[in-house]
């Protein structure tokens, strides 16, 4: 797994699990690899992966069954979409809008660009 520099690794692993849930590679109530399995697979310290799972559990994306391991929450997809929407609106959107303003793109132009994008 290749990690970007700007985000803690445990959060990048959480993003990657989120991607797998959104793409359907991990299904609701399906089993998530154990901490050790995933650590060995992506060559990352097991305690880092344990932190990822804590984080996902706190956000209600996965849940534990005692002795059986971690499973995908039934409403994980909605939770991930909501949290990513939140992130986008708070961080990247602000930067993006700033860039649009800096180069003088009008709201009307932006609307047209977005419509074209959706129709692609």
């Amino acid at each position: 797994m290749n990690f970007k520099d700007n985000k803690a690794i445990y959060l990048q692993i959480a993003d990657s699990i989120g991607d797998q849930i959104l793409s359907g590679a991990l299904t609701p109530d399906g089993k998530v690899p154990s901490v050790r399995e995933l650590a060995a697979e992506i060559e990352v310290n097991a305690n880092t992966v344990a932190r990822t799972y804590d984080h996902l559990q706190q956000n209600g994306v996965i849940y534990t069954k005692r002795g059986l391991g971690y499973f995908v929450s039934p409403d994980a997809q909605e939770k991930i979409v909501a949290s990513r929407r939140n992130q986008l609106m708070q961080g990247e959107m602000d930067y993006f809008l700033g860039q649009l303003k800096a180069v003088g793109i009008t709201p009307a132009e932006l609307q047209e660009l977005y419509n074209n994008y959706l129709n692609k």
Binding site: F3, K4, D5, N6, K7, A8, I9, Y10, L11, Q12, R36, A39, A40, E43, V44, N45, A46, N47, T48, R51
Partner: protein, 280 residues
């Protein structure tokens, strides 16, 4: 697991002490990265920890026993992979036959599996002295991990390994690590091992410059391009602008840049250490 107390050691009295009143604690369940400049004493510390050198004063205890006594109980639960070593003119099978009995938890099955991870095949009749340096290192490490000792100490394990083997080495560490084990990896190749560490220990002769968990580093320090208003502890130029080690903002968690952390600690260990003590 290891208690190093008030260690004093010199190779040569005229050059003064390499270690003076040096103390450090290493606990099970952690993968430690031991970092330090050339001549900082990393290898010497490793030899003192494994009972190969005798301190002038002070002691190293493993599970309460002085390692210098080299008790069977200690030596059978401790494995050292030195940076450079020779292997005898034997087949791997013979070598295992002679050496494995010293390690009660040695597993042949594990060794086969680790040789596979290193893509070294399963030919136990391979002559050890016919192998290249990198291949020797991989075979020896496969043996080392298969001894299942609770303490595994490796001096520059990724030196001499080719690019795919470095990733295989990380896989081996993450596969073999468990809560009752302690691994110590001494290295200059910080990029090779950054993601597999629990704990980073930076030493400079008598001093432990930094000794802290990676999770703590992530939550207290940020490694990134500087922004207005930052009060960096350390800065460095890069093709992408000025990068810095800065106190992490609330909720800010960046990937630990071990190389920058090391340079920052050498330059200003007090400021770095303050980040880990004031907030406790």
């Amino acid at each position: 697991m290891f208690t190093i107390s008030n260690l004093t050691f010199s190779y040569n009295k005229r050059n003064g002490d390499l270690f003076h009143d040096f103390s450090l604690e290493l606990n099970a369940g952690n993968v430690y990265g031991l970092l330090g400049k050339n001549g900082a004493g990393k290898s010497t510390l490793i030899y003192l920890m494994t009972g190969l050198l005798t301190p002038a004063s002070g002691e190293v205890l493993m599970d309460g026993e002085n390692v210098r006594r080299r008790l069977p109980k200690t030596m059978s639960d401790l494995f050292l992979v030195p940076e450079e070593f020779e292997l005898p003119r034997l087949t791997l099978k013979k070598y295992v036959g002679i050496n494995a009995p010293f390690y009660p938890r040695f597993s042949m099955e594990d060794m086969q599996r680790y040789l596979d991870i290193f893509e070294m095949g399963g030919d136990l009749n391979v002559k050890l002295n016919s192998l290249s340096m990198g291949q020797k290192k991989k075979v020896f490490m496969a043996f080392a991990f298969a001894t299942n000792t609770r303490a595994l100490i490796m001096d520059e394990p990724t030196n001499g390994l080719d690019i795919p083997s470095k990733s295989q080495f990380r896989k081996l560490v993450t596969t073999c690590m468990s809560d009752d084990k302690m691994m110590l990896i001494s290295t200059h190749q910080v990029r090779d091992i950054s993601d597999i560490l629990d704990h980073v220990t930076i030493i400079d002769q008598s001093r432990v410059l930094l000794n802290t968990g990676m999770a703590d580093v992530t939550s207290k320090l940020a490694f990134r391009p500087l922004r207005d208003g930052d009060q960096p502890i350390f800065t460095q130029q890069s093709p992408y602008g000025t990068l810095g080690v800065v106190p992490a903002l609330p909720e800010e968690e960046t990937k630990v840049d071990l190389e920058m952390l090391f340079n920052a600690t050498l330059q200003n260990s007090e400021a770095i250490n303050q980040m880990f003590t004031t907030l406790k």
